[in-house]
């Protein structure tokens, strides 16, 4: 091989190797860090895996919020107006967390069928419904029809 070709070959090898490395890194991190969204009906029907990190969303059920008296532990139920799921969370809830408000919780299902949330998100707009919830409710309505 001429020196020029050698140079070219090493450029190409370098590029291929680098691209492969980055694609691998990206694919691996994507596969590790994707959180699937489940509606409360899907969870109630047992579709959600136990122990895997998922997102669950629904409207907070009126009168379901219960606080512990000595810690920041809080329990509430979310619903898509068909099935309810109980959520437990320890910490400070967002400002717009209210009964009747749509929220998204991130966390895991435990063995007792309770959703252990490590993060609760409520949107900063009172009329806002997370698209995931809006869609899962729409599907429900269509299924009823």
């Amino acid at each position: 091989m001429t020196p020029k070709r050698k140079k070219r070959l090493s450029i190409i090898l370098g590029l291929v190797f680098g691209t492969a490395l980055i694609v691998g890194l990206v694919m691996y991190s994507l596969s590790e860090n994707i959180n699937l969204f489940y509606s409360t009906s899907q969870i109630a029907e047992g579709e959600a895996p136990v122990g895997a990190r998922i997102r669950a969303g629904g409207m907070v059920v009126d009168g379901s919020v219960k606080r512990a008296t000595d810690s920041l532990k809080v329990q509430f139920a979310i619903t898509d107006f068909e099935h309810q799921v109980v959520v437990e969370f320890t910490g400070i809830l967002p400002d717009l967390f209210r009964e009747g408000q749509g929220i998204i919780a991130q966390g895991k299902m435990d063995a007792n069928g309770i959703f252990q949330a490590d993060e609760v998100l409520a949107k900063h707009d009172e009329n806002y419904m997370p698209p995931e919830i809006a869609e899962s409710m729409k599907n429900k309505q269509e299924a009823v029809k």
Binding site: K7, G18, I22, L25, V26, Y28, S29, L30, E32, N33, I34, N35, L36, F37, R55, R67, T69, D70, S71, L72, T90, G91, I92, L93, D95, L96, I104, K123, H124, D125, E126, P130, P131, E132, E135
Partner: protein, 652 residues
């Protein structure tokens, strides 16, 4: 009446920009000098009418004209005047008008400050910007006019602005960010003009570079301000959330950073020309993509207000036309562009190229993580979200690799350097940074941490290699002061910006490793210790603001029995929307922030309280400011001014 004038001015501005898009362009391609000279007055006219339109909207806001739908939805008579005025860009329609204002402002600025530019080039650049303005102003008028009225019956008072936005952050963050976003349209216009005219030489790079640097500096500043704002306003002490909309601003910044460097190489050595053109096209396209993501509501995000498929579709079409058109032009014309010089393996050109590749790859990985949920959803494979761990896992290693290359790139010379010369320069910085990286986690923290070692060594490597290179400039100097004056401003700009990168990297490393946080229930008199500080909760009292009522807590912070500061976080309830808002209180300092926010009231006067200890968090934004400042310093370099003066002389 006034809002109608605003609407009317906007319609005139649209006509002016259509003419600006057509006439000078046609003049340039046929060599008709008179038609080319129309570009300047047209740019001025367009700016003039958009300004009138903007003032009309501002007037409607200041006069509480709630017959205007947009004003009624985003303002309220109780709001302080500064928030009434910044509410102009508090929603979709107004922020698009701000966009149009800034675009026409940039167009006007290019027409004023480009005396050195040949007439046909200037005509083409301004025409391309006219095309963009035509797209945006028609978007405004067709889908989202801020001047629409509620008639005949309009509300007695406005619906109020989102409390989160009633803050100093709203006054400065969006305009800065938009200055950056829209500023890339100048680089884009220069690239298209170069492709059309087939002139792509060092002079071209010299004209385009100051504009690109200014836009890049504004964008960086906007992102920095946004991060700082989120940190103190959202009440959970985070400074970057990998939110799709943040990503939308980060992507053009990353590509813009690549563009700034590639332009430097194009100007100095006449290399990477077609790559520079491509980056200019992509930087602006990503800005448009960002607008699409924010405005269409396709993504779940704190920034996505209302979703409107029609608007999303319009921007998507605009994006498709811009990218499709410019990339087709690129494919046709770019093969004619030739490099003017060659370089060897170990040269600054190669390292700039490596840095460019890293930056582009980072932008692509962010793009992938942002769009992946959309793709999966479109394919019907379910609703997913890509969390921060993905971005951290991909971003951090590439960032480290890039920082190492950054250190080398300042030490190598253009064209060619010997390995020995590089080693001679860099062995000392390498040793120092590795040693400090080893020592720091042991003395500062509670033991050795690999991430701290990496973060600190890499940051110090960037700093010390810049410093060594700087000292090297004085080896043969007669006197230090004369040499200091001799060095071009752009060189200082580069140094400041690189040090800024290191400062930000140190901030990120330390704040994400050594932060401490406690959420707890506190009764009056309760005390808690965090990172050596005692926080004592002394109850709350009610305070009244202009348009809100608040519970204000008193939290006394002591260290070793000595009182340091009294923090007063608030929980506000805004009267109109009855919306709750957390107002954190922060004791800032260069090496640590103490951050206190109220959660919700619990029974018996107890509160949920969140306390953060954030070491080195200020460094994040300090670095961002340094980078932006470095970018601006480069623009102030006299070679950009001298040129124009000289050329003017030859013209005369």
């Amino acid at each position: 009446m006034i809002p109608e004038i605003g609407e009317f001015a906007l319609i005139i501005a649209l006509f002016v920009s259509v003419v600006l898009a057509l006439i000078p362009m046609y003049g340039a391609s046929t060599g008709n000098e008179m038609w080319m000279t129309y570009a300047k007055p047209l740019a001025m006219g367009q700016f003039f009418f958009v300004v009138i339109s903007f003032i009309c909207l501002g007037y409607a806001f200041s006069q509480d004209d709630f017959s205007v739908v947009y004003v009624a939805q985003h303002s309220n008579s109780q709001m302080p005047i500064q928030f009434k005025l910044s509410a102009i860009w508090g929603g979709h329609e107004g922020s698009l008008l701000l966009w149009a204002l800034i675009l026409s402002g940039w167009t006007f600025a290019v027409s004023r400050f480009s005396k050195a530019l040949p007439l046909d080039m200037l005509a083409r650049v301004l025409s391309v910007m006219g095309i963009v303005a035509t797209g945006f102003i028609s978007f405004l008028l067709i889908t989202s006019s801020p001047f629409a009225r509620y008639l005949p019956r309009f509300p007695a008072d406005g619906a109020d602005l989102n409390p989160l936005l009633q803050d100093f952050g709203l006054i400065v963050h969006p305009p800065m960010l938009y200055m950056g976003y829209v500023g890339f349209s100048v680089a884009f216009a220069f690239a298209i003009a170069a492709l059309l005219s087939g002139r792509m030489d060092a002079a071209w790079a010299r004209w385009a570079r100051p504009w690109t640097n200014i836009a890049w500096a504004f964008l960086g500043m906007g992102i920095t301000l946004g991060s700082w704002w989120a940190y103190y306003e959202l009440g959970w002490g985070g400074w970057w959330f990998w939110d799709p909309v943040e990503n939308a601003s980060l992507m053009p910044w990353l590509v813009g950073t690549a563009l700034v460097h590639s332009l430097a190489a194009t100007e100095k050595r006449g290399v990477f020309k077609s790559w520079t053109l491509l980056l200019a096209i992509f930087a602006f396209s990503l800005s448009l993509l960002g607008t699409f993501l924010v405005r269409s509501g396709v993504l779940t995000s704190v920034h996505a207000f209302a979703s409107d498929p029609e608007r999303g579709f319009f921007i998507l079409m605009l994006l498709a036309l811009t990218m499709g058109g410019s990339l087709t032009l690129y494919a046709l014309k770019a093969p004619n562009v030739k490099s003017e010089s060659s370089f060897s393996w170990l040269s600054r050109e190669v390292f700039l190229l490596i840095n460019n590749i890293f930056l582009t790859v980072m932008a692509v990985t962010v793009l992938l993580g942002t769009l992946y949920p959309l793709l999966i959803d479109a394919l019907g494979l379910g609703k997913i979200s890509v969390g921060p761990p993905y971005f951290n896992a991909v971003f951090v290693p590439i960032m480290c690799a890039m920082a190492i290359a950054m250190g080398v790139s300042v030490a190598v010379r253009w064209r060619e350097t010997t390995v020995k010369a590089v080693l001679n320069k860099l062995w000392l910085p390498a040793v120092i940074s590795i040693l400090c990286g080893l020592i720091f986690p042991l003395t500062y923290g509670n033991g050795f941490e690999v991430r701290v070692f990496l973060g600190i060594s890499v940051s110090l490597w960037v700093m010390s290699s810049v410093f060594t290179e700087f000292m090297g400039k004085f080896r043969n100097a007669q006197t230090i002061t004369s040499r200091l004056k001799q060095l071009p401003l752009s060189y200082y700009g580069m140094m400041v910006a690189h040090v800024g990168v290191a400062v930000t990297a140190i901030g990120i490393t330390l704040v994400s490793t050594y932060s401490e946080e406690r959420d707890m229930r506190m009764q009056k008199g309760d005390s808690v210790e965090l990172a050596g500080y005692q926080f004592t909760f002394q109850g709350t009292h009610v305070v009244k603001g202009a348009n809100y009522m608040a519970d204000q807590a008193t939290i006394v912070v002591t260290e070793d029995g000595k009182s340091i500061v009294t923090l007063s976080p608030e929980k506000r309830r805004y009267n109109v929307k009855n919306a709750m808002m957390t107002e954190a209180d922060i004791d800032p300092s260069l090496f640590r922030d103490l951050y206190v926010a109220l959660g919700e009231p619990l029974e018996k006067g107890a509160w949920a309280v969140r306390i953060h200890y954030k070491p080195y968090v200020r460094w994040l934004w300090l670095g961002g400011i340094l980078m932006a400042f470095g970018g601006l310093l480069t623009v102030a370099d006299k070679r950009y001014r001298q040129r124009s003066v000289k050329l003017e002389a030859t013209h005369a």
